[in-house]
Structures are given as structure tokens and as C-alpha cells.
């Protein structure tokens, strides 16, 4: 039964990642893409945790922690970079 629940949750998180990927491709603004990227890595973190539950291993915990830390750094860097772009993508 827990197997079924993990499968359903994996499907739901996968659907959420697809929706975020649609926003990542669609835009329209740079910041929309950064926000979609942020959502994608948070969902990927949850998927890694779900796989850890499915395979009954705690080894995947460290990779989830790494995704959380590095994803945050990436979002901060992109947001600070986008702050200085104009609407067509040139740097001021």
C-alpha cells in the first residue's frame, strides 16, 4: 500500500514538474523562467525523497540536501543577474 502511495505521489510530483517545465519554456519574462526553475528543483527534491522511501535507503538523503542548497544558490544568482537585464535581455 505504501508502494502505491509512493507511486501516486511520484506521478503527482511528475505532473507538477511538467507544469513548471511548461512555464520554464513559455516565459514570458526571464523572472518567470527563474521562478519555474525554482519550482522544478523543489519538486526534484521531493522526488528524490520519494525514491529514498521506495528503495528504503537513507543514501538519497544527502543528494536531496545538496539539491536544496545548490538550487537556492542558483536561484539567488539568477535573480541578482536578471535584476540588471532589460526587457530584451541585454545588460544595462
Amino acid at each position: 500500500m505504501i508502494h502505491t502511495a509512493v507511486t501516486i505521489a511520484l506521478g503527482l510530483f511528475g505532473l507538477a514538474m511538467l507544469l513548471a517545465a511548461w512555464r520554464l519554456l513559455r516565459g514570458p519574462d526571464v523572472l518567470d523562467r527563474v521562478l519555474a526553475m525554482d519550482t522544478l528543483y523543489v519538486n526534484a527534491l521531493a522526488v528524490v525523497l520519494l525514491l529514498g522511501i521506495r528503495y528504503r535507503t537513507q543514501l538519497l538523503f544527502e543528494s536531496a540536501l545538496l539539491i536544496a542548497a545548490l538550487g537556492f544558490i542558483g536561484t539567488v544568482a539568477l535573480a541578482r543577474f536578471a535584476e540588471r537585464l532589460d526587457s530584451v535581455g541585454h545588460r544595462d
Binding site: I2, T4, A5, I8, A9, L49, Q58, R80
Partner: protein, 109 residues
């Protein structure tokens, strides 16, 4: 595949996992459907608090029962995500206002 879990844990953890997945889908639908960037910033907060939070809760429960000892190191991820989500949201909103100052709401008096 592996040893069976007690029935109450299966029910509780299953409900937490499916609930977390539902929150993730709701947040991403918000990301796709809402009209402007300032509204869209609202959606993914559901994913990072409730979605990941419930999955981490279920994971802690399952590994605590399997190992017959409290396993709480998953809380590190919760702390990290809960600390970083407001910071990145604030930076994104500040960048958005720097790019388009006209979108700022009027200042309250």
C-alpha cells in the same frame, strides 16, 4: 520487496505522501494559470512548504519505525527549504520591481 510496515503507518504515511503530491500539483497549476508574475510568485510557495514538508514528515515517520529509533535528520532539509524560500521570493520580487518599477502597487500613506 522489503519487510512489511504496520498498517497505521502505511495509512498515515500514504495519506501524507499523496497530500504532498496534491499540494505540489496545486502550486504548479498556480504557476501556470495565474496572470502576472507578481501573482505567480504565490503558487510555488505551496510546493516548497506543504509539498516537501509532508513528504519529509512521511519519510521521517517511515524511517523511524523501520529503524526503531527516532530519525530526524530530514529536518535539515525542512530547515534549509523553509529558510531559503522567503529569501529567494524576496530577491525575485525585488528583481521584478527593478525591471518594471511601474508594476509596484501604490505606497500606503
Amino acid at each position: 520487496m522489503t519487510e512489511a510496515l504496520p498498517a497505521w503507518l502505511e495509512a498515515l504515511a500514504g495519506a501524507l505522501l499523496v497530500g504532498g503530491g496534491l499540494f505540489a500539483v496545486v502550486g504548479s497549476i498556480g504557476l501556470v494559470r495565474l496572470r502576472s508574475f507578481h501573482l505567480r510568485l504565490h503558487g510555488p510557495t505551496k510546493v516548497s512548504t506543504m509539498g516537501v514538508g509532508l513528504v519529509i514528515l512521511a519519510s521521517m515517520l517511515i524511517f523511524s519505525v523501520i529503524g526503531a529509533r527516532p530519525v530526524i535528520h530530514e529536518l535539515l532539509i525542512t530547515v534549509l527549504v523553509f529558510m531559503t524560500a522567503p529569501v529567494s521570493a524576496q530577491l525575485l520580487m525585488r528583481a521584478s520591481l527593478a525591471r518594471d518599477p511601474g508594476a509596484a502597487p501604490p505606497r500606503p500613506d
